[in-house]
């Protein structure tokens, strides 16, 4: 558990968040992932500014990969929209689990709009880990700083990848795409201190593989509801037994 941080002002907490973003492993992961994303956008004929706007507006790497490859390959718009929305379902429980950590006594709904939009895997994993050590009244500012740090990293390296695209050998391009699942796996494992989270991780890996291999519709939705609920039930049973 990181040492509790005290911040004298919201601005200090915001800067603390930016600093946490730039010194965490996700800085390197986002840099690598968005170099790969830039190369992808270039290959499918999008402009570099379109990619930057998609990073700011969509702010979810899996959805952006789907969007770029579906639009670029000329898929039907409705088909692309459905694929994007299915990949985004995970953001819903993340927001539900995150916002109660951010909310304090006088928090207004509009204060939560930015953290809601900023919610993504990297930001969520780091917020869940770091926020308990931040005083409650500084958490929103810290979280916004963290997110701005991550988002600017991603947007900047998107441009780098875009202009490097032609130079990337396939093995190197593949290794950049591998950064996302590998870092998601390890950081989720690090955050899974409670038995319930470990179980949810293992069940999700297994169910995700099985349901995708058997071509089940809405595989991610069932993976989440099935694996998550099972882990939750085991957690409740153990609590009741204790």
């Amino acid at each position: 558990m990181p040492a509790p941080a005290t911040f004298s002002s919201s601005a200090a907490a915001f800067l603390g968040g930016v600093k946490s973003a730039l010194t965490s492993v996700f800085f390197l992961v986002l840099a690598g992932t968005y170099i790969g994303m830039g190369a992808l956008a270039h290959d499918f004929g999008f402009s570099s500014w379109w990619l930057a706007l998609s990073t700011v507006l969509v702010w979810a790497a899996p959805a952006q990969v789907i969007l770029i490859s579906a639009l670029g390959a000329g898929s039907a718009l409705i088909e692309a929209a459905i694929a994007v929305t299915l990949s985004a379902i995970r953001l819903f429980p993340m927001v539900v689990a995150l916002l109660p950590l951010l909310r304090g006594e006088g928090t207004r709904l509009r204060d939560l709009l930015l953290p809601t939009h900023f919610t993504s895997v990297s930001m969520w994993v780091e917020s869940i880990r770091l926020l308990p050590g931040v005083p409650r009244e500084r958490r929103i500012a810290f979280c916004n700083g963290l997110s701005v740090g991550y988002m600017s990293t991603a947007a900047s390296f998107g441009f780098v990848g875009y202009y490097l695209a032609a130079e990337l050998p396939p093995l190197f391009a593949g290794s950049l795409l591998f950064l996302t699942p590998l870092s998601f796996l390890l950081s989720t494992a690090r955050n899974a201190k409670a038995m319930m989270d470990k179980l949810a991780l293992v069940l999700g890996l297994l169910l995700g593989t099985i349901l995708t291999a058997t071509n089940v519709q809405l595989d991610l939705l069932w993976t989440g509801i099935g694996g998550g609920t099972l882990a939750y039930i085991v957690h409740r049973l153990r609590e009741a037994a204790a």
Binding site: S69, P100, L176, A200
Partner: protein, 115 residues
Amino acid sequence: MSAIWTDLAPYLALILVGYLPNEVWRLFGLVLARGLNEDSEIVVWSRAVATAILAGVIAKLIVFSSGALAGIPLGVRVSAAACGFLAYLLVKRSVFAGVLAGEAALLLGGWLVVH
């Protein structure tokens, strides 16, 4: 007019097909999370569901890869992820060490397959 349309079409598609279908889930979360505190059972359950969905995304990206990663054989991808996890456990639960080891294993494996 049609030239403007051609220029704007990708941005319109970004809003309609990318931004809105993605953002709607965050806004649902914002609405549902009102009035809940972090110990409520639905928040605990949401954390379990979010973790399981994330694990599903990870499994899909590694096992059913697309793009340049699909060019690296499945066995190499899974072994590299396992190497990364092992290194993470061995080096004091360091995500950085794990990512480094996993990437090194992937590059080595991918290179050996070709050569």
